[in-house]
């Protein structure tokens, strides 16, 4: 009887510890209203063209107790590219650029997370135009605030990518610079 009681207590403790660990990871959904994924690229090497992606989705799981177990994922609809010029957007959707009918999404999925001062250093796979490459980004932020019962965190990063590394045709690069700077400012929210 004593043995059964001991086993029961141990099982309960194990279940509670698992639940505690699970609760330690906070899952946030991407708040499209207060977030943006924008980019800029050189035009003729004298100025910058700015644009943004209007349809983005993401999920962040932040483990406060063991931040290395945190995960970050972002999915961008390439079709939603918006440079404030409909004709240029249409051109960017075509196979010489994003080829959105063949590669509808641009994705990032973290593979490892390290805590740094003021944020996280996140390594992950970045998939664009059918090519996946490992990248490292510095995500700043992560402080949580409570607004009317909704808990929010803010995260931001900036990364530089070469379009030619992702299978964009070099002949299509032309007047637009090969390198693009992607700026991600996003809010995650949970109840």
């Amino acid at each position: 009887m004593r043995r059964f009681f001991f086993a029961g207590v141990m099982s309960f403790a194990a279940v509670m510890s698992i639940c505690g660990a699970a609760q330690a990871a906070d899952d946030y959904s991407y708040d499209l209203v207060h977030s943006s994924v924008s980019f800029k690229a050189r035009h003729l090497d004298i100025s910058w063209i700015h644009g943004r992606f209007n349809e983005v989705d993401g999920k962040f799981s932040i483990d406060r107790q063991d931040p290395t177990k945190s995960t970050f994922a972002l999915t961008i609809k390439a079709d939603s590219v918006d440079t404030a010029n409909a004709a240029r957007d249409e051109h960017l959707r075509q196979p010489d650029y994003f080829d959105t009918k063949q590669f509808p999404t641009i994705e990032f999925k973290s593979t490892s997370v390290k805590v740094i001062e003021g944020g996280y250093e996140v390594t992950g796979d970045f998939k664009m135009h059918g090519t996946t490459k490992p990248i490292r980004i510095t995500l700043m932020g992560g402080r949580e605030i409570d607004t009317n019962g909704v808990k929010r965190i803010g995260l931001s990063t900036e990364l530089k990518l070469k379009r030619s590394d992702y299978g964009f045709d070099k002949s299509g690069i032309g007047a637009i610079g090969d390198e693009a700077i992607i700026i991600i400012d996003c809010e995650g929210m949970r109840k």
Partner: protein, 311 residues
């Protein structure tokens, strides 16, 4: 940005290589059989296209992940092999047509492989299973009927005019695709068009198009041209910005050559037949290009003007 000098060089080189292969074959190959003609025609067009793509520095990656690269690395070589095989088993034999039918059945699925259309409900614009079946059936029907129509027409008078009309349609498909904003997709049409046009001219001058080998050459080139036209338009429609109406008009334009076979219109001399056919084909192609140019001037040209002024 498109470089007209590069395209002009690619077109010239393609035409030159086609002409050289046909002249060398004429001087060295004794056999005047239709099979030999098909082989010569297919080799000439293949060498010509390779030269053109080399001149344009076309970037081919493996595995091919885009519709255009799947056409250039899988479907075009497969079409070349099928037409070569057809030459050996008899261009109008049942085996040849079974091979061609099998080829046509894989065109649409391979071009659309991995695209949003076939990704189920996971993405916007995805087709349902029944839509996919219908689309593939239409693609199979159009490509095989197109091939059959063109091959049958080459059995009639002035077969080289069929090659030339296909070259015009392929060239127009390239221009329309480019005007829609897909530069590389449009440029891919140029070496094929140049190869077909050059082979048609050289066969007319050298072989005598009504000879067995001359007809064989035209058969081989028309087979490759007809399949290529379908594939290029499929890519332009589903990945580029060419409308269904424009794509269909370009696809069907070469078949207007059949009008010259109607007793009411049938011209009497070779040159009159050629002229009748080419003008008949040029009219719908011209209409399509006119509308494509108008749309280009409205939408795309302002972007280019900004670039030009700044540079």
């Amino acid at each position: 940005m498109p470089d007209p000098a590069v395209y002009a060089w690619a077109l010239t080189l393609s035409a030159f290589v086609s002409a050289v292969v046909l002249v060398v074959a004429k001087l060295t190959i004794r056999s005047r059989s239709q099979a030999a003609g098909v082989t010569v025609g297919v080799v000439a067009v293949t060498a010509s296209m390779l030269a053109g793509y080399w001149a344009m520095k076309v970037n081919l990656s493996w595995p091919p992940v885009t519709g255009l690269s799947r056409f250039l690395t899988i479907l075009l070589p497969a079409t070349i092999v099928v037409e070569l095989a057809a030459g050996f088993v008899g261009i109008q034999s049942k085996t040849a047509w079974r091979l061609r039918a099998a080829m046509c059945s894989i065109l649409s699925p391979i071009i659309l492989q991995g695209s949003v259309y076939l990704n189920g409900a996971a993405t916007d614009g995805a087709w349902t299973a029944s839509t996919i079946t219908v689309a593939f059936a239409i693609g199979f029907g159009l490509s095989l009927a197109g091939l059959l129509s063109m091959q049958r027409l080459t059995e009639r008078s002035v077969p080289t005019s069929v090659s030339f009309s296909l070259a015009m349609a392929i060239f127009s498909a390239g221009i329309a695709t480019m005007l829609g904003g897909y530069i590389n997709g449009g440029a891919a049409a140029f070496p094929i068009a140049a190869a077909l046009a050059a082979s048609a001219i050289i066969v007319t001058i050298l072989s005598g198009e009504l000879s067995s080998s001359g007809r064989g050459i035209v058969h081989g080139t028309v087979g490759i041209g007809s399949v290529s036209l379908f594939c290029l338009l499929c890519i332009a429609r589903f990945f580029g910005n060419v409308s269904s109406v424009s794509a269909l008009m370009i696809l069907l334009a070469p078949h207007l050559c059949w009008l010259s076979e109607h007793p009411k219109f049938k011209p009497q001399t070779r040159w009159k037949i050629t002229l009748f056919r080419l003008v008949g084909v040029a009219i719908p192609l011209g209409v399509v290009l006119l509308f494509a140019a108008i749309e280009f001037n409205l939408k795309m040209a302002p972007l280019l003007v900004v670039s030009w002024r700044e540079s």
